[in-house]
Symmetry: C2
Subunit: 343 residues, 2 copies
DNA sequence: TGTTAGCACTCAATGTAACCGAGTGCTAAT
DNA sequence: ATTAGCACTCGGTTACATTGAGTGCTAACA
């Protein structure tokens, strides 16, 4: 374990580097933070820290830069508390109370706020619709051979999908089907709609001669609702970070972010209860190994609903991002509770 | 008017510059395009073209670059036809025929295809929902004091919005209202729902004591449907263009593109029937004055529905982008016709 | 008279050398 | 154990010469 002074030096180095994005040297360090020792001593300490793997050296005679291990130690223990400021809280709260919104706006704006305040990319994974309670399914005629299926849930999600009517089917049939479906599924969580529920529907519908297509229709409507939605924010902001002054890097990162499934996988890797920080190489995905991700999962009644995350260069303001995520987390949980989300 | 040879030289210069992004000189020009004259002659012609304002010179002794006027002349007359290749057509057609989709997916994918094939940013402005025919409005209870309003149109658009119930209102009241509304508005274009229609509804509802909130509720549901939707594609692609190797430029452009209203205004400036090309300084908006926009409007029964556009550096492949837009335009018109869009 | 070869000239880009300065590592003094 | 001092490193900057693609002009040419 590092002694007190080493820890202070390490913290000073990292704080400095996060603020300046430049390798930090002993003299500058002694000047800014008063550690009560001379640059020479700091040099010795830094050499030790490098031996131990917490700092890195590009070459002799350029300042030190934190290593992944250094950031890890920093995040796990040294990190200075940097609570969300009151003005920021006001800003956020005002927004959340502003007015009743469609639930997807809530997620979109949450992403926007997070990225605006951390100046990094933010990611918000919204709960699967399938975790909400089924409210009703309606069919509406679109034209002679197509119907619109509208699925509604407690949380205010409305999912719609165009279905082709099987040959010979009449819209009347769909309406009858809707009545059956709604009766059987009323109040159920979408996810919990199991084989047995579908079986019941099947049984009821069978006499009407619609059996063949009925299950498929429901299945497709439900499938559409299983998709988790991903909201991105601040892809522009990241251009302000010095590490993204290189267009190649920007392009790589943007390409990753465009792959929705890939991003979801990355987020799904973090399902722990509290905040999780993944630093540089710790990331599975090699194209973001010079980035860090902070994730926060939100829950209701102990059930995992979704994830908030900040993605930035390893040199990111961990403290700020972490406290902000924590704060937004409580906010979004609150909103979801208000919307009567059922699990 | 330029004589034949000048036109050929101008075209060669622009073609070359579009392909290479480098100022083009007389020697190289003579080598690649065989114009049948020596570099010296080409130099003379280029000097003339510069006099006339079609070409520009950063300084003595670097090749020529087309001026806005040069591009304009090129676009208006010289442009080599570069039809969409058969493979590309196959690719596009296959996609369009793939399966029945939600209409918003059609627009989103159209944007993606355009940007993918032009390697530039694409913009797709979808028709206002209000240009579609009203199909039905439904209220669904969300909780004690809120209802979900679902508005459906012929074209398969489903718009939903959460409304707060006025104090003392019962969900029953909303259902009665819905019946009235649906009867009165059936078959009307949403845009054409005028004061008189609303008046009729008002009259019918009045006795029920709901008058005060009824109009407002409908109005808000309709308002939500007035919004045109904008779909963007290929913001990543543009990073491949050499003019965007500078992060500052990228940032500026991305900032503009983030301002949805601004972008819509830019597109609204072009309502002409065919393709319109706006080159560099011709753009009103100063932050895109080193870009060109090509717009194509699509129509149904003579009525303007929406816009497809490509946004790229002034040095863009006009010919390709133009023919592609034209092709996509017929495609999307076709799709819309199939979807029974009513104006 | 229009075209072309030749040539002097220009200027961005590239390469090279010198220098500066922030920073280190080591040693010796405190 | 700490620190002052000093030699050394190396990226970054500046200055300067070189290169090469390109022009403009003039004179020769068809």
């Amino acid at each position: 374990m590092l002694d007190e002074r080493k820890r202070r030096v390490l913290q000073a180095v990292i704080d400095d580097y996060i603020a300046s994005a430049e390798p930090v040297g002993s003299r500058a360090l002694a000047r800014k933070h008063d550690l009560g020792v001379s640059p020479a001593t700091i040099r010795n300490e830094m050499a030790d820290l490098e031996m131990l793997g917490y700092l890195e050296h590009i070459h002799t005679s350029s300042g030190r830069v934190p290593s992944a291990k250094g950031y890890r130690f920093y995040v796990d223990g040294l990190i200075p508390p940097k609570p969300v400021s009151d003005e920021e809280k006001v800003l956020i709260d005002r927004w959340y109370q502003a007015r009743v919104k469609r639930i997807d706006e809530v997620f979109q704006e949450t992403a926007r706020l997070i990225s605006k305040m951390t100046r990094n990319v933010s990611l918000v994974l919204a709960p699967q619709v399938s975790q909400a309670a089924f409210r009703c399914l309606q069919f509406l005629p679109l034209d002679d051979h197509r119907v619109i299926t509208v699925l509604m849930t407690d949380a205010g999600f409305v999912e719609n999908k165009i279905l082709e009517m099987p040959d010979g089917a009449e819209f009347e049939d769909f309406q009858r089907m809707a009545r059956v479906i709604n009766r059987v599924l009323a109040g159920k969580t979408i996810r919990s709609i199991s084989e047995s529920s579908l079986q019941m529907i099947e049984d009821e519908i069978q006499d009407s001669g619609l059996y063949a297509s009925a299950l498929e229709v429901i299945q497709r409507a439900l499938d559409a609702s299983k998709k988790e939605r991903l909201y991105l924010g601040g892809t522009t902001m990241m251009l302000e970070q010095p590490e993204f002054h290189d267009v190649e890097k920007v392009k790589n990162l943007l390409l990753v972010l465009e792959e929705e499934e890939l991003v979801k996988d990355i987020l799904h890797a973090h399902t722990g209860r509290g905040l999780e920080v993944t630093i540089g190489r710790e990331n599975e995905n090699s194209s973001i190994q010079d980035c860090s991700i902070i994730t926060a999962t939100y829950h209701l009644d102990g059930e995992l609903l979704g994830t908030l995350a900040v993605l930035g260069p390893t040199r990111m303001e961990y403290s700020k991002a972490m406290s902000l995520l924590e704060y937004m987390n409580t906010n979004i949980s609150e909103v979801i509770r208000k919307y009567h989300w059922k699990v």
